[in-house]
Amino acid sequence: MNSRIGLIAANTFREAVRDRVLYNLIAFALLMSGASILVGQISIDIERLVVVNLGLTAVSLFGIVIAIFIGIGLVSKEIDRRTLYTVLSRPVRRWEFIVGKFVGLAGTLVVNTFFMAIGVFGALLYVAHHFQASDKWLLVALYFIVLQFLIITSLALLFSSFSSPLMSAVFAFSMFVVGTFAEDLRGFAGMATGVARWLATGAAYLVPNFSALNVISSVAHEQPVSGHLMLYNTAYALIYTTMAICGAVLIFERRNLK
């Protein structure tokens, strides 16, 4: 069983690596890191601030785009192109297929983030000439960004298991936007009344909590990140991802592949 998931994951990784779009997006992200150096030079004091803000934001946004872009094709493309038939007629369980696809894409994103992070650290070194102790918090910010990727990938996979590539992309991106304001949504839910309150509360707790995973501006100001937050965020990301994957498994298990 595990070897099959591993095979599917490895193949998904291979597919992503050979997809040219990926390289374009990574190149863009690196470009942004480079551009941040120029932008920072406008004001001497805030070079470091700009590099961190712009660099990490680029990593985050481009990573989300990659995650959604490749994620939506995970299942819907395979059904469209009928490559799935010869896979599922083999002794591969449907849930193994879903999990394998997820692991493969998650691995791709971690590797991506690694390369994009090198760009950010490179730019930082260039403007600051040396690293300082507080730079270690950047790693935490990047770790949180990877957690965001895991969540959005699992959502893209979930949507991909029942809708077309285009709609999956729209849904996944919407969830990203709403999730960024999840804390505000919960605040709004607390102030609302009646039906709106119930709906808002339901939505506010179901939507992925990206707001807590975004520590870019505080890290840019050299603020530390609490250990408790790291723990809770990790647990939350893993649990949420599992939730979405279970949903994908349940849907895909029932799907007639016409």
Binding site: R93, R94, W95, F181, E183, D184, R186, G187, F188, G190, M191, Y205, L206, N209, S211, A212, S217, S218, A220, H221, S226, H228, L229, Y232, N233, A235, Y236, I239, Y240, T242, M243, C246, G247, V249, L250, E253, R254
Partner: protein, 309 residues
């Protein structure tokens, strides 16, 4: 072949467990981060830049920051906080993003200016905020009123208050009280009558619940103060006339000096002390009152939930 039952059962169970767990984690995380999102406000050195970055969605972003401001102040006030250092930046960002959000200026006028725990204690910031509002909304009389309000209530700057009210009174559709208030600024002692008029105007001219609530509390306090003063005067005259202080209001009622037992605006009977002072039965219910308090009274740490008017 049917979908595998084992898979269905396991996946459904795990899904439900995860849902529950994620909600519990969110409670934890929210508590941990209760101010983190807001503190980022301090890092936004330039609200104008934020407006540019919002790519035209500044209205929505203004609403989000407004919601945050209200939540921030409401939550902290409820917990009896002593400082609200984020309120000013939050309101500044809100109004930069949407200069026409009048309620934000009203909020600032009511809660930026007063001393903690009822406000940020930053009256000058409040003045600046409302002046910014006037610049962008010169035809809205409510902002002139708000400006005059701050000058009068917190800064005791009667001249500027008079000017603000006068300018406001000239705006078409202004509340008739503005002209009266402009005139009354001449009475520099700051009497209760003027204050009552202003709080009544505030109460009537806003839709924001917290502002109305606050105004109502002020009005009740003023009414209680008036009643305490009137009762104490009556008690003093009774003593002069009869030669001894009244033992209770019941005695005064029997002697037809009063009709019924006097009650405060919340319906509790006033207390009469042996030395002729009148006290509120439950002083905690009147957060702004300055008369009718027992000598050893200590205001409560956190504001209590009061009945709304």
């Amino acid at each position: 072949m049917k979908p595998s039952q084992k898979t269905t059962v396991i996946a459904t169970t795990v899904l439900l467990l995860c849902m529950a767990a994620s909600v519990l984690l969110l409670f934890r995380i929210d508590r941990l981060r209760s101010n983190a999102t807001l503190e980022e406000v301090l890092y936004i050195s330039s609200p104008k830049a934020l407006k540019r970055m919002s790519l035209g969605y500044d209205g929505l972003l203004a609403d989000i920051y407004w919601t945050r401001a209200v939540q921030y102040f409401g939550a902290k006030h409820h917990a009896g906080a002593k400082s609200y250092n984020l309120l000013a930046p939050l309101l500044q960002i809100t109004t930069t993003l949407d200069p026409h959000l009048i309620v934000a200026y009203q909020y600032g006028g009511n809660f930026l200016a007063p001393e903690p725990p009822n406000g940020s204690g930053m009256p000058q910031a409040a003045v600046d905020l409302v002046k910014y509002g006037i610049k962008h909304n010169p035809e809205d009389w409510r902002l002139y009123y708000q400006l005059g309000f701050i000058y009068y209530m917190e800064l005791h700057d009667y001249q500027h208050a008079a000017e603000a009210f006068a300018r406001g009174a000239q705006v078409p559709g202004a509340h008739p009280f503005l002209r009266i208030l402009a005139g009354q600024m001449a009475d520099k002692s700051g009497n209760r009558q003027t204050a009552r008029m202003m709080w009544a105007t505030t109460f009537e001219t806003t839709n924001d619940k917290s502002i109305k609530y606050n105004a109502a509390a002020h009005l009740r306090a003023l009414q209680a103060e008036d009643e305490v003063t009137a009762l104490e005067t009556l008690v003093a005259r009774y003593r002069e006339t009869t030669g001894h202080p009244p033992a209770s209001f019941a005695e005064m009622n029997a002697a037809e000096w009063l009709h019924g037992i006097p009650v405060d605006p919340l319906g509790h009977p006033y207390k009469l002390t042996p030395d002729g002072h009148v006290e509120l039965a439950v002083p905690d219910d009147f957060p702004f009152v300055t008369r009718g308090l027992p000598p050893d009274f200590v205001p409560p740490e956190a504001p209590r939930v009061l009945p709304t008017d």
